[in-house]
């Protein structure tokens, strides 16, 4: 069975501003992860964290045409390939963003242990947002 996450969010910003934020390396590096990225099909990108001992995210850009961006998403040294798709829709003054993350069923079985080992290197600290989420979990005890 395929496992796909879908998210929709409306931003009160013009479509090109959001397109730049998700495709330009220096902008991705500001709000998301330290990026070696080019919005060109075939480009092998790397997303790194500033944290120590972090497993980078690597993958290949499959499609990059305004306003659709598709790339594979692999936690380095793990065998599972997933795919992330970004789509933007112009609503005039605002923009609707669709995000899809598919292939998560590939994390079944032994891969999960390797994923865990990348946590062991501090992956939770490496991923923006997650660490604060985890803190909430711990403090909620």
């Amino acid at each position: 069975m395929t496992k796909t996450i879908t998210k929709e969010k409306v931003f009160n910003h013009p479509i090109d501003q959001i397109w730049n934020a998700i495709t330009k390396a220096e902008e991705i590096s500001t709000w998301f992860l330290q990026a070696d990225f080019k919005a060109e099909a075939g480009y092998k990108y790397t997303f790194k964290s500033t944290g120590e001992n972090c497993s980078p995210i690597i993958g290949e850009v499959l499609e990059a045409n305004p306003y659709k961006l598709v790339y594979t998403w692999i936690v380095k040294d793990t065998p599972a390939t997933t795919t992330v798709t970004w789509k933007l829709e112009n609503l005039g003054a605002s923009t609707k963003l669709y995000l899809e993350h598919s292939g998560i069923e590939n994390y079944a079985g032994e891969t999960a242990i390797e994923m865990f080992n990348s946590f062991n290197g501090g992956w939770d600290n490496c991923i923006n947002g997650l660490s604060s989420y985890l803190k909430e979990m711990v403090n909620a005890e």
Binding site: K3, E27, I104, F116, I127, G129, Y133, K135
Partner: protein, 109 residues
């Protein structure tokens, strides 16, 4: 289900607990609380507290043999794909919030 996911995340949020779990995964036999406390240079109470949280998350099983308690790893909860779905779902929610913050702080000239 949701609370199980929260307990799993709570269990792996702590680096010491990750190390204890990792040690139990690597060892082929069960380890006693005493062995773990020696290996991690930690009090028995400290180890017991961590083991309880790992046990609540289903990552560690405990057997009792007389006065000794033995712990062994059970990675099954990590293999449940729904947990990874929940993990990434939260991750993307947080990331899109960060994108929103970023867009709101950078006004186009």
């Amino acid at each position: 289900m949701q609370s199980n996911i929260n307990m799993l995340f709570k269990a792996i949020a702590d680096p010491t607990r990750r190390e204890i779990f990792h040690a139990l995964v690597l060892t082929t036999s069960a380890l006693s609380i005493t062995q773990i406390s020696t290996q991690f240079d930690m009090s028995r109470q400290g180890v017991t507290k961590h083991i309880k949280i790992l046990n609540d998350a289903g990552l560690v099983k405990i057997t009792e043999d007389g006065r000794n308690r033995f712990c062994f790893a059970d990675p099954k909860p990590l293999k449940e794909v729904n947990k990874w779905m929940a993990f990434y779902s939260q991750y993307w929610d947080d990331s899109l919030d960060k994108l929103d913050d970023y867009l709101n702080t950078t006004k186009k000239a």
